[in-house]
Amino acid sequence: MADAILEVSNLSKRFGAVAASDSLTFAVERGGIHALIGPNGAGKSTAIGQFTGEINPDSGRVVFDGHDITHIETYKRAQLGLQRSYQITSLFPEFTAEDNVAMAVQSRQGHSFCFWTPARTDKTLRDPARAVLQRVGMADKADLKVTELAHGEQRQLELAVALASEPSMLLLDEPMAGMGQSESLRMMEILRTLKGDISILLVEHDMDVVFALADVISVLVKGAVLMTGSPNEVRQNRDVRLAYLGDE
């Protein structure tokens, strides 16, 4: 695909006897929201882990924005513009919400070999951080410590931190996990606003969310892609319905 930002070819990973990724092949187009769905144990998180470099594939290739990133270190991929958010919230628990986002901003701005100027009062870090918090609707919680935030707010912060690095692609691993109805709707709105600027690969269990947001859906079963298509195509595909959607 000419316009693909992420191309995955024959990615394979075994854990003992289990093939978590089995010759996984698919591509994500620039600018849209591409959903990755599949039953539990299908290998979605393993796939994401291999895209970010946190898991080392046994074989296959991952090409991001024209670069072969299959075996390069995680931080280098982030510097190339690939960011992820985590299914199990992964923040800096002793920092405030704004500190967390500022950390991402700081990374974006280049090296941190600055030993003198206090970082917490540095406007070039705090202003962009606050702007991102505003964007996800958390500006009023900026000075709360992560431990003082509710679960849903932590999930919002999780997204904010990933956003603040100004990535060209976001890998979102169940961003709405554990969120209530209204929080989820708010998150969906935010994701919609990102379309076009940022390419998104969205791993999600909630089918309503998937069908509402996604331009393209890939269905993952037993570590391999069963099919890729528009939401309608996926909804009507018999194999998918048998393997995953049940009797919907």
């Binding site: 982030a78 992964s90 800096f92 002793e94 974006r108 941190s112 030993f115 100027t117």
Partner: protein, 340 residues
């Protein structure tokens, strides 16, 4: 009555933290006068020792408390700094040339030559050891830093030229123009100034962008990498800076005790310094000072009471670990002790 009013208005202007800091500073500045008044000059000597170990402890806290690096090798840099000074004094005193260096350099009595060299060499080894050790993590990191410290320890023991196991007695202290390091009070204030300057620099460092990276690594290193930080680089620099601080403390201890020995590098020495950091309060800058003071004073007081005072230190340590995690500083200052 009036003291209440003063205290209350003080509380409005100053937090508990500021009061603790102010009191601490006051005590440190006036200690020699107090010692003079109660006619106990030994107080100044032990206070100097506390300041020197406090410096070593603060430097360890930079990597332990702020970055989560449990290094059992810190004693190595402490000892290296001491040995640099020791060797230079030894050769200068004996007017013998240093054989393993090119040329005929006969050492130096001048602190202006010795101490920066001590810092530089400690820093160099910290860079080397850190570069290798930071490739591991967790308990492996603990062990490999310990191993390197032990390597240096055994190396110094087997060098007969510099005393081997018995160490080296130093027959002269370092010389600084206009100061007399044999004067306990001058030595005390010099150590205090050095500690305060190091504290000041550390304060800037831990609050800078660099410091934020370290703190981020302590809380969630995986996320730091995920955000694009080349974590190894930052940890290595922090490790090197910490080593330099320990080296400076080593230079001071060599002068203070007029002796250098391999024991300074033993892993149990690293353990003692670590205890000071934890006891005082990890991840704070003032904590290690309190920890050093507490441990050394306990040693002093208890060893006068019974030769088996260690029996008490053991359970005390276990107690602190299990129940008093924030350390003494945390207990004094309360919630504001750590700022994340």
């Amino acid at each position: 009555m009036e003291t209440d009013v003063v205290l209350n208005s003080m509380k409005r202007f100053m937090s508990r933290k500021a009061i603790v800091h102010l009191l601490g500073l006051l005590i440190m500045l006036t200690l020699p006068f107090v010692a003079h008044v109660i006619d106990d000059p030994f107080l100044v000597t032990i206070a100097s020792r506390i300041l020197i170990y406090a410096l070593a402890a603060v430097s360890l806290d930079l990597i332990l408390g702020y970055c989560g690096m449990v290094s059992f090798g810190h004693g190595a840099f402490f000892g290296l700094g001491a040995y640099v000074v020791g060797i230079l004094i030894h050769h200068a005193y004996g007017e013998t040339a240093i054989t393993f260096l090119p040329g005929d350099w006969m050492g130096s009595f001048s602190a202006i030559v010795q101490w920066p060299l001590a810092v530089a060499i400690a820093g160099f080894f910290a860079l080397l050891i850190g570069a290798l050790s930071l490739r591991t993590a967790g308990v492996y990191f603990i062990m490999i830093t310990l191993a390197f410290a032990q390597m240096l320890y055994y190396f110094m023991i087997s060098l007969p030229t510099y005393g081997g196991e018995d160490g080296l007695n130093l027959w002269e202290r370092s010389q600084i123009p206009t100061l007399d390091l044999y004067d306990e009070i001058q030595f005390y204030y010099l150590s205090l100034v050095i500690l305060l300057v190091f504290l000041g620099l550390s304060y800037r460092v831990v609050n800078s962008r660099f410091g934020m990276v370290l703190r981020g690594c302590k809380q969630n290193e995986a996320r730091m990498k995920s955000l694009g930080f080349p974590v190894y680089r930052y940890k290595l620099i922090a490790f090197t800076i910490a080593g330099m601080g320990a080296g400076l403390a080593g230079a001071l201890i060599a002068n203070h005790t007029e002796f250098v020995g391999p024991g300074l590098m033993h892993w149990t020495r690293s353990g003692e310094i670590m205890v000071m950091v934890i006891l005082g309060g990890m991840g704070t800058l003032a904590g290690p000072i309190l920890g050093a003071a507490t441990l050394l004073l306990m040693e002093e007081v208890l060893s006068n009471m019974t030769e088996h005072w260690m029996v008490f230190l053991g359970p005390f340590l276990v107690f602190v670990v299990l129940f008093a995690r924030r350390g003494i500083y945390g207990w004094l200052v309360g919630k504001d002790a750590k700022d994340g």
